[in-house]
């Protein structure tokens, strides 16, 4: 693939063939090697061929090959002649990250760390096939999907302030649970309030480095050693089912003829099916918001019980990694509403945007980028420049570089746990095999990913956090 370097960390695939726009890749020499090895560039080019695509197809620094769209892909489509695609959002709709600050220091937590982790494990079911503690009726589940985190707060899980500090304020009003298939609902009922497994995790972390003290302070991060809690999970089986349902519906109704890749299946945004997918996807987004909201509440309860208080355990922010939504952006100098797809990418809005809560509006949006198990995670600041560079988006995490099988062949779960212990990190997991599959060596270097984001200017470094306790599903 012909890739032209157009800036220190910016590469371009010029418009050619069926491409309607160029594709831009934000990457470093190192990260680009991985991107060149897999199908990321081909997939970015395919996305640039889709009807109604605006400006450019963008690829974030943590990109790797996905299904149809690359993971780390951002694309915007015209509302009149553009499309919406489940493959542009991903199977784990609103997979996302939430960060809670605390008033505790690493020293405060250290003697009670095991107790904290064990108690959180009891409250928050994790692992494959583990059902939630609450059993919902179909009607309540639909309510959850309509209201998102608002439903959780109304029912005693967390506070109104949490909602303010959540992307979309914890609820996409476009959700219509009535369009969810019975299967999506059946998969959602047992799973509300569960962490899941695989790459999902809950970590007790400490602030390790502060790059931008003024912004960090506004985000509630004051000093090195301060304890924070990070929750990474998504819409569970409900979201996976929504993606599968609409891929199938679009295959049957719109067809895949003429598409370079079956997973790029899509429907016109204006069509009944396109609209229906958007409503169902929004319902899954809300399920995920409610899920993380409930988990946050249980984490606070555990901290209160084990350490005596949950005072000051405010939410910093909650961001989506896999989502499509309508946003206003400048297209060739004209502001217009477009349908943004972010697949494995984080919204990264700069100061002034109405979508950002007042408390952060003069500064920009907090961007939370989780690392892999046992590695650092980062807090970034959204930028105004990102709107021009990437429709206000940046990276979402580390991204795998090795299959599970390969990871299992190379690492032993017990050894991974010991290595983490050597670094002062306590691990609680449901499966040794799962631990070996999620070893940090199986993932990209998140440090380099955020460095590129910072240098390009699509998300600026605020703070680095490192785990002290990890719960793996």
């Amino acid at each position: 693939m012909d890739l032209k370097k157009i800036g220190p960390y910016t590469y371009e695939i010029a418009q050619h063939g069926d491409m309607k726009v160029p594709a831009v890749i934000y990457s470093s020499q190192n990260l680009l090697e991985g991107v060149r090895r897999d199908m990321t560039l081909k997939q970015a080019r395919n996305v640039a061929c889709l009807p109604g695509i605006q400006r450019k197809a963008y690829v974030m620094p943590d990109a790797h090959q996905g299904y149809g769209f690359p993971i780390g892909g951002v694309a915007a489509f015209d509302l009149e002649d553009g499309i919406i695609s489940p493959g542009g959002v991903g199977y784990d709709i609103n997979c996302g990250v939430r960060l809670l600050r605390t008033e505790y220091s690493a020293e405060d937590v250290k003697p009670k760390l095991r107790q904290l982790l064990a108690a959180i494990c009891r409250e928050v079911p994790a692992g494959v096939g583990k059902a939630g503690v609450i059993r919902l009726s179909k009607r309540i589940l639909q309510d959850v999907c309509a209201k998102g985190a608002e439903w959780a707060v109304e029912n005693g899980y967390g506070t109104k302030t949490d909602l303010e500090r959540t992307e979309e304020y914890g609820r996409m009003s476009s959700a219509d649970p009535a369009v969810l298939s019975p299967r999506a609902i059946e998969r959602g009922i047992p799973q509300l309030g569960t962490l899941g497994a695989g790459n999902h995790f809950l970590e007790i972390q400490k602030v390790d480095e502060i790059y931008d003290p003024e912004t960090a302070r506004i985000f509630g991060l004051q000093a090195k050693g301060q304890i924070v809690v990070m929750i990474h999970c998504g819409s569970r089986g409900l979201g996976h089912q929504v993606a599968s349902d609409y891929i199938r519906a679009m295959e049957n109704k719109v067809g895949t003829g003429g598409l370079p890749d079956r997973e790029l299946v899509n429907a016109p945004i204006r069509s009944a099916l396109g609209q229906e997918y958007y409503k169902a996807m929004s319902a899954a987004v809300n399920f995920a918001f409610a899920n993380r909201q409930m988990i946050v509440h249980w984490v606070r309860e555990v901290f209160a019980r084990v350490l005596g208080s949950a005072e000051g355990m405010d939410q910093v922010y909650d961001v989506c990694h896999n989502v499509a939504k309508f946003e206003r952006h400048a297209i060739h100098g004209q502001e217009k509403k477009v349908c943004i797809h972010r697949k494995g990418a984080t919204r990264s809005f700069g100061m002034g945007r109405a979508e950002i809560p007042e408390v952060y509006r003069d500064k920009g949006q907090p961007v939370i980028i989780p690392g892999s198990m046992g590695t650092a995670s980062y807090i970034l600041l959204g930028t105004e420049a990102a709107e021009q560079l990437s429709f206000g988006s940046t990276a979402h995490g580390a991204g795998r570089v090795m299959s599970r099988h390969e990871a299992r062949r190379r690492f032993r779960g017990e050894q991974v746990k010991q290595d983490l212990a050597g670094k002062g990190i306590e691990l609680q997991a449901t499966s040794w095999r799962g631990v070996s599959e999620e070893a940090s060596q199986a993932y990209k270097d998140v440090d380099e990913v955020v460095r590129v984001s910072h240098e390009v200017g699509i998300g600026r470094l605020v703070a680095r956090v490192v785990p002290v306790g990890v719960i793996k599903g």
Binding site: G34, D38, Y67, D92, G237, Q241
Partner: protein
Amino acid sequence: MPKISQGFKFFAHPADAKFQAYGGNLEEAFQNAAYALVSLMWDRDRVRPEMSYPVALEARDLKQLLVSFLEEVLYLLDSRGFLLHSVDELTIVKEGHRFLLRSRFGGDRCAEGLETFGEVKAITYHEMVIETDGRAMVQVVVDV
């Protein structure tokens, strides 16, 4: 390397799990694909066939049928906590423009103490191959 005698084999893939499943006919290859999928999540030898679910699917082509068939395993896991032990009485027929699949899944509910491994989020069409000349082979990449 994993044993081929299991009827399936995993391949290195940068981000996901990719496998091929084999059989004397398409039904056997589909059955082994289900076992390959399950091997990512639990050890099916440790699950007893205490209960069973009937499976009836239709699709517009074989790839869609394979996706639906494997998704059935994920659906039953999430909605019923059902862990697959065996795929029985599997038949695939073509009727007009539709492909029909009938089967019976034997297995048990998720019990305390049984170790489960990683999560599979979805079955994808990515790099999917279905070969039916002579012996059957299906290749699947799943989203983990």
